[in-house]
Each structure stands twice: as structure tokens, then as C-alpha cells.
């Protein structure tokens, strides 16, 4: 899956979970820009896992600040299979 596709899917998921239109760029941050709290983060994580058919360890969440960070992690998990 290409980076752009990952971004598009992420945008859809975020719109669903946050229940608002979101426009994301790679440098968009979850906390400051999108105001994602710990509960929303859990929902986003679950949706990402389902959509991409991966499991994301919560250990990486601390490192994920921006949409680009998240996309990179997803890409890595997809490659691992």
C-alpha cells in the first residue's frame, strides 16, 4: 500500500471517529491540531487495526505525534505482514 493510500484511509478514519471533516497533512499533530484524547486514540487505533488488518502495540503510541509518524508505523506493520 502506498503512502498516499494510507493517508487517505487515515483521513476517513479520523473523520469517522472525530465526527467532523478533517484535513490532514503529514505534520498535523494528533494532540494539538486534532484534539485527540486518550479515548479517541483508542477508537482510532481500533479502527486502524481493522481497516489495515494489523495489530498496533500501544508501546509505539508515545512516539506517535503526527500523522506522518502514524503512517510510517502503519507502513512498517504492513510490511512485517
Amino acid at each position: 500500500m502506498k503512502r498516499e493510500e494510507i493517508f487517505e484511509t487515515l483521513e476517513e478514519i479520523l473523520a469517522e471517529v472525530l465526527q467532523k471533516e478533517v484535513e490532514i497533512r503529514p505534520e498535523t499533530t494528533f494532540e494539538a491540531d486534532l484534539e485527540v484524547d486518550s479515548l479517541k486514540a483508542m477508537e482510532i487505533l481500533a479502527a486502524v487495526e481493522d481497516r489495515f488488518d494489523i495489530t498496533v502495540p500501544i508501546n509505539v503510541l508515545n512516539e506517535i505525534k503526527t500523522v506522518a509518524d502514524f503512517a510510517e508505523e502503519i507502513e512498517k506493520l504492513l510490511e512485517e505482514g
Binding site: M42, A46, E49, D53, V56, P57, I58, N59
Partner: protein
């Protein structure tokens, strides 16, 4: 940048709450009994403790603790691995093994350290932990200390657990996977669907650890917890718990049929690098453990009180946890509303726990009432009455 600048947001939130509601920290000015105390100069009913069997002032427990202090002193001044293992620690471990009918038990200084010790040591970077999203902070913290990869599943959602388990198994067929859940969840008082979780665990060859902090002495015919109640004790690999709730002391334990559990004593930092339980705590816990066996009527009274309070609040239309239990959680959509009801209850002489997001499971605000075997019927009535003066929204 000052060192406290990072708390600026917290400080301003606290300031707002203080301005609107006054103080929210309760000091028990004098504790009168398991169910009563003086707060703000006034006598209140304690309906927000974990004193499920009401043993904090039990004559036998007090006597045993006093005697232990006289005979063994006020503290051990050392780690379990050095000078802090007394004969009484060993006896308590033996008694817990007998109580649970397990082969090995380790006693820790608190329930928090028990989880910290087990989850940082039993599993490591090459293993996997799958935990219920509503698990206690001590469980999360333990996994962080040890660095095991952690995956969460939705609270009490067996289907969600299985989906993750399946993916992880396909990817890592050989990995040790440890599922971590609680017996009774501390905030909403709901049980884990243990039978179903055990079935899934068996199907995918995982291990299961259950934290019975709130279910020891509360669930199961002999008070051994949810695993006993659900009839699956032999399928649960590790049980963790605390002495700080139904046993009315302080301390924690892990018990298992794996004799190798003993190895953790040599490998686990939260076991080695803290002082061991004081003699008084041990004596109180041992006595309370015996009382669980000898006085089953305490558990009966606890459940009568639980059903009564749950039923009364339900009738009034409050939004409660999904099933009756000694933890009766009342949900409010707005934190401000929870705060004002909490304060109103206190003014009417009823203390309950207030739990605000992000500490709550689903982002709502909770007033967590909890009952004890020591509550008299008229106290349960008084608690209900106090709630009835508020509208349930």
C-alpha cells in the same frame, strides 16, 4: 521554563474547580468505624471505600496486628531478598497457596507492586501482552517497566480479543501471549466474561492472568474470586490480588500452579528493591483471610447491601454500571454535574468516590459508591435517600 511549567494546564483546571466547588480533596479528620468518619467537622457515612467485608476495625484483626507489632516490631527495615523475609511472610504465602489451592505464592508490599513486579518480569520483549483496555494503572505501568509489546482489546469484548489474538498468532505462532484481565472492574463493578475468555485463551494457546483485587472475598463460594465463581480456577494461570480491600490491610500477592513462579523473586525489581510488608500488615491480612473462611455471612451481607443500593438507585433512574455489585457506579455525562452532586452528597453526610475523565473508562464522569458488609440497613437507606434529592442526569 520552570520545572513545574508542564503542570500549567492541570493547575488552571484545579483552580477552576476550586473556584466553582471549593476543595475536592477529602481529609478523613477522624475515622470512627468501617462505615463512618468525620469530614469537614461533620459525621459522614463512608460509601466510597474498598472495605468490602468491613474488617478494618475487626477485633481479631486488630488484636493480631497489635500482637505482631509487640512481638516482631513496627517494620522489617529491609527487602524480602535481604533481611525482610520473616517467618510470618513465609507462613502467609503458604496460607494463600492453601486458600487458593495453588502451588506457589509470592507476597508483595502492595497490590500495585505485585502487578508492577509480575508484568515487568514474567513477560519481556520477546513475549506479548493483550490487555483489557480498562485494566488498572498498575498493570499498564508494569508492562512499561519491562518493555513487553502490549496490545489492548475493548473492555469485556471477547470477539475483539479473539480478533487480535488471531492476528498475533498468525504473525508470531511461537510467541508467549499473556492475556490480562480483572475479576471485578474497579470503576463500574462489572465482571469479566471469564468463561468465554478462558475458551479463547485455550484455543490460541495463551496464558491468562486475572487481577482479583476487587473480587477476593466478594465472589465465589469460598471467596476466592471470579475464577472460582466461574468454575475455571484450573484454567487461570496467574491470579494477582491485594490485601488493601476486603482484607483491610495492605500488601499484594500473585499465586499460580507454576512452581517456577518462585524464580521471579530473583529477577523482579519491584520485589527486590522495596521493603517487605510490616508484621502488623501480615498479621491483619492472615486474620482476615481466616475470617473469609469462617464467616461467610459477611459476604452475604455485602451482597444484600449491594443489591439493595443498586436496586434503589436504578429505580430512581440513575445510569448505573451494567450489573449489580458492591461497586455501584453512577454515571453523569457532565463532569460539572458529577462534581456538584458529589458535593451535595457530602453536605448531606454521604461520602462517595468521584472519578473524572481521563480516569473513567468511557469519558463520562462517575460517582463510585461502594458498599460494605458493615453497612447497616439504615445506612444503605440513608445513602439512597441522599441520592434521591438529585435528578439522574
Amino acid at each position: 521554563m520552570g520545572i513545574f511549567d508542564k503542570f500549567a494546564r492541570l493547575a488552571s483546571q484545579l483552580e477552576q474547580v476550586r473556584a466553582a466547588f471549593g476543595g475536592i480533596n477529602v481529609v478523613i479528620e477522624k475515622i470512627l468505624s468501617p462505615t463512618e468518619a468525620i469530614v469537614n467537622g461533620k459525621k459522614v457515612i463512608l460509601a466510597g471505600t474498598n472495605n468490602y467485608l468491613g474488617l478494618t476495625f475487626d477485633k481479631e484483626c486488630i488484636e493480631a496486628a497489635c500482637q505482631a507489632i509487640r512481638e516482631e516490631g513496627t517494620g522489617t527495615t529491609g527487602s524480602r531478598m535481604a533481611n525482610g523475609t520473616y517467618y510470618s511472610h513465609v507462613i502467609l504465602e503458604r496460607e494463600l497457596s492453601e486458600f487458593f489451592d495453588k502451588k506457589a505464592t509470592i507476597v508483595f508490599t502492595t497490590g500495585y507492586t505485585a502487578n508492577l513486579a509480575i508484568l515487568s518480569t514474567l513477560v519481556g520483549r520477546e513475549d506479548i501482552v493483550l490487555l483489557d483496555a480498562d485494566c488498572h494503572a498498575s498493570i499498564y505501568d508494569g508492562t512499561r517497566l519491562g518493555g513487553v509489546p502490549v496490545y489492548r482489546f475493548r473492555h469485556n469484548d471477547v470477539e475483539d480479543l479473539e480478533k487480535r489474538l488471531k492476528r498475533l498468532r498468525e504473525k508470531q505462532p511461537q510467541a508467549n501471549i499473556l492475556i490480562v484481565i480483572e475479576g471485578l472492574y474497579s470503576m463500574l463493578g462489572d465482571r469479566a466474561p471469564l468463561k468465554e475468555i478462558v475458551a479463547v485463551k485455550e484455543r490460541y494457546g495463551a496464558y491468562l492472568l486475572i487481577d482479583e483485587a476487587h473480587s477476593l472475598g466478594v465472589l465465589g463460594e469460598r471467596g476466592r474470586g471470579l475464577a472460582e465463581e466461574a468454575g475455571v480456577e484450573d484454567k487461570v494461570d496467574f491470579i494477582v490480588g491485594t490485601f488493601s480491600k476486603s482484607l483491610a490491610s495492605i500488601g499484594g500477592y500473585c499465586t499460580s500452579d507454576y512452581e517456577e513462579l518462585d524464580l521471579l523473586r530473583y529477577a523482579s525489581r519491584p520485589y527486590v528493591f522495596t521493603a517487605s510488608l510490616s508484621p502488623a500488615n501480615i498479621a491483619a491480612a492472615r486474620t482476615a483471610l481466616r475470617i473469609i473462611r469462617e464467616r461467610p455471612e459477611l459476604k452475604e451481607r455485602l451482597w444484600q447491601n449491594a443489591l439493595k443500593l443498586y436496586g434503589r438507585l436504578k429505580e430512581m433512574g440513575f445510569e448505573l454500571g451494567p450489573e449489580p455489585s458492591p461497586i455501584v457506579a453512577v454515571r453523569f455525562r457532565e463532569p460539572e454535574r458529577a462534581l456538584s452532586v458529589w458535593k451535595g452528597l457530602l453536605e448531606q453526610g454521604v461520602y462517595v468516590n468521584m472519578v473524572l475523565p481521563p480516569a473513567t473508562p468511557d469519558g463520562s464522569a462517575l460517582l463510585r459508591a461502594s458498599v460494605s458488609a458493615a453497612h447497616r440497613p439504615e445506612q444503605i437507606e440513608a445513602i439512597s435517600e441522599a441520592f434521591s434529592s438529585f435528578s439522574p442526569a
